[in-house]
């Protein structure tokens, strides 16, 4: 049994934690509805004028579209690579498995500025800077461990004999992969893909290094705006970001179930 004083302590801690976690969101949300001209909380009157301004701001919109494209490219690249790597690492006994695992973790251990500059040099050498796809590829490279982990953690839960069972049912290798292995790890694949999408959407440092005036993504565009003047439209942009994240979580819950996602990490 929990005593009264324990109950009070626990709930106090829970509320402090919840408040700390959600405070920035609440503040930004409030600030975005201000009718004043400076970013402030509590908002100075209520209006939707900054959202209206957002709807008019072509540079922000285009940056947002570019970010969407980058996220889609990143997901498209990471999906097959991460899924196959995750499956290989967890379903097969590989030679040099340890080394491969460390290699796939490298993007985590190398500071982003390091990999960012590295990628910038490589893409610069190839003369492809200035287009959007290198940014997407770069995001896929640096965030790859997330999808690999997500798929592996889904795959290790499977019965080790699952593929043999499919074979004994008469399925060849390709059929086994398409009908059994892939669908069985689908929760991990979907989780990983949504993570990759959101991470690419938010990626700032690497985008900053790889984009120029023609290809700025949304985080970079916001950063550029902050450097001149902080106006409440940035709060409104942040709210849009938060909405996208919520949409991803909603999708995850619909497609996989949040329970599975939380357990897999």
């Amino acid at each position: 049994m929990i005593s009264q004083s324990q109950r009070i302590t626990i709930w106090t801690l829970v509320w402090i934690a919840l408040l700390t976690l959600s405070l920035p969101t609440i503040v930004v949300l409030g600030a975005s509805f201000t009718s004043g001209n400076i970013i402030a909380f509590p908002p100075d009157g209520l209006s939707l004028k900054w959202y209206a301004k957002l709807a008019m701001a072509r540079d922000l919109q285009q940056a947002f579209l570019r970010s969407l494209v980058v996220s889609l490219i990143c997901t498209a690249v990471a999906l097959p690579v991460g899924t196959l790597a995750g499956l290989a690492l967890s379903r097969f006994r590989l030679r040099y498995e340890g080394a491969i695992q460390v290699y796939l973790l490298l993007p985590f251990t190398v500071p982003l500025i390091g990999s960012g500059i590295g990628l910038m040099l490589v893409f610069g050498e190839w003369r492809v800077l200035g287009s959007l796809w290198p940014v997407g590829v770069a995001c896929a490279v640096i965030n790859l461990p997330f999808i690999v982990w997500s798929v592996s953690s889904s795959a290790v839960l499977l019965d080790p004999d699952l593929e043999l069972a499919a074979q004994s049912c008469g399925a060849g290798r390709v059929q086994t992969f398409l009908h059994v292995t892939l669908p069985a790890v689908m929760p991990g694949v979907i989780t990983g893909s949504l993570l990759m999408f959101i991470l690419a959407m938010n990626e700032f440092l690497v985008s900053l290094l790889l984009t120029d005036a023609r290809t700025v993504t949304l985080p970079v565009q916001i950063y550029n705006s902050i450097r001149s003047i902080i106006t409440p439209d940035l709060a409104a942009v942040s709210v849009v970001f938060i909405l996208i994240a919520l949409l991803a979580i909603w999708l995850l819950d619909k497609l996989v179930g949040l329970e599975v996602f939380l357990k897999s990490k």
Partner: protein, 372 residues
């Protein structure tokens, strides 16, 4: 090893499964399977029984075609098993952890082999329903796998393995994880279904009771070698080696010198059944089943026994339908284990009680020394 031939050599030509001189070498120590040979007639239910690490699962996986023997030959229906890719064989298998497809419903799991084997799509639903009825899961077709109990999942796995009417059914210890009541229920189910369909079946288990209950024939394996191949009654009554006597049923072991009538153990004359060609005075081991030893407080009750010994009860274990006594006889190295069925419910002999034990010569089996 003296291995009684399971059937005459010309029977091999009609064997559903023929395993000939098969070795499996994983390259890390002793052979996992060594010189395994046996044949199995169509429609029979064979259980390969052995402790963990005895090579029984390896042997089964070679028969399934998942592993290639290092040496020897496996013929299934007269055809070399490695000539056919695993997915082209007509072998149904129930796996240790079942390996059901988690993302499919019960219907989809059972229909999967039919789809992969290109059965006429029009016939599939009817056939799936028929096999779900066979395993008594009618009406469960739309459930998801994780919504089923352990026993129901077993039944799905059986239906999936049988639905395409394989020539051979392989069971890789699928019952090991179940609790005892459910396991015994499923053993009877396996037996019923196997008899109903008449499908040749090879089952692998470490559960000697399961082997006795479900099988037409049993193979006992130890350390990669086949120890004995016999029907359950012969396996129980005439174990070929002390290992088999110890692995199936409860036996006590006596080691002594061979005499005209049995063994002389530390000066005690123990009447027993001798194999042929035992030289007098050589050291041999004998085994006697716990239920073949009689126990009584008064020596007069056991006057009909060929051998009687005086001892002391060192432990009494109540097992419900019977009692298990441990009786120490001064001069014998180990306590003898004795089952006592007492339908009249007399008070058991207490620990420390002086008792007389006895047996008949035919029940103490003496093994040739090469089997020690």
């Amino acid at each position: 090893m003296n291995m009684p031939a399971a059937q005459p050599a010309d029977g091999e030509r009609h064997a559903a499964v023929l395993v000939r001189d098969v070795d499996m070498d994983f390259g890390n120590g002793p052979l996992a399977v060594q010189s395994a040979s046996f044949s199995l007639e169509a429609g029979r239910f064979l259980t390969i029984l052995g402790p963990s690490g005895s090579g029984k699962t390896t042997l089964l996986r070679m028969i399934a075609g998942f592993q290639k023997p290092s040496r020897g030959q496996i013929l299934i229906g007269g055809k070399a098993s490695d000539a056919v890719a695993p997915h082209k064989r007509t072998i149904g298998m129930v796996f240790q952890k079942l390996a059901l497809f988690p993302h499919m419903t019960v219907n989809e799991n059972v229909a999967f082999p039919l789809k992969m084997r290109r059965f006429n799509p029009k016939d599939i639903p009817e056939r799936v329903a028929r096999y779900l009825d066979l395993v008594r899961l009618g009406g469960y077709g739309t459930r998801r796998i994780h919504e089923l109990s352990g026993g129901q999942q077993q039944r799905v796995a059986i239906a999936r393995a049988l639905v395409f009417e394989p020539d051979l059914l392989l069971l890789d210890e699928p019952l090991a994880a179940l609790d005892r009541k459910l396991r015994e229920e499923m053993q009877l189910e396996f037996r019923r279904i196997q008899k109903e369909l008449g499908v040749t079946t090879i089952n692998v288990t470490h559960d000697q009771r399961e082997a006795l209950v479900v099988s037409d024939e049993i193979i006992v394996m130890d350390q990669g070698r086949i120890q004995q191949h016999a029907d359950p009654v012969a396996m129980y009554r005439k174990p070929a080696s002390p290992f088999v006597a110890n692995f199936i049923g409860v036996s006590s072991f006596l080691k002594g010198e061979v005499t005209e009538t049995g063994l002389s153990v530390n000066g005690f004359s123990c009447a027993g059944t001798l194999p042929r060609n035992m030289s007098l005075g050589s050291v041999a081991q004998g085994a006697i089943r716990a239920e073949q030893i009689r126990i009584s407080a008064t020596a007069a009750d056991l006057a009909s026994c060929d051998t009687t010994l005086q001892g002391t009860v060192t432990d009494t274990i109540f097992e419900g339908e019977r009692l298990l006594y441990f009786v120490a006889v001064p001069g014998l190295a180990t306590a003898l284990q004795i089952y006592h069925h007492d339908p009249l419910g007399h008070a058991p002999h207490d620990r420390g009680a002086a008792v007389t034990i006895g047996w008949n010569a035919r029940d103490l089996l003496i093994f040739p020394p090469q089997n020690m």
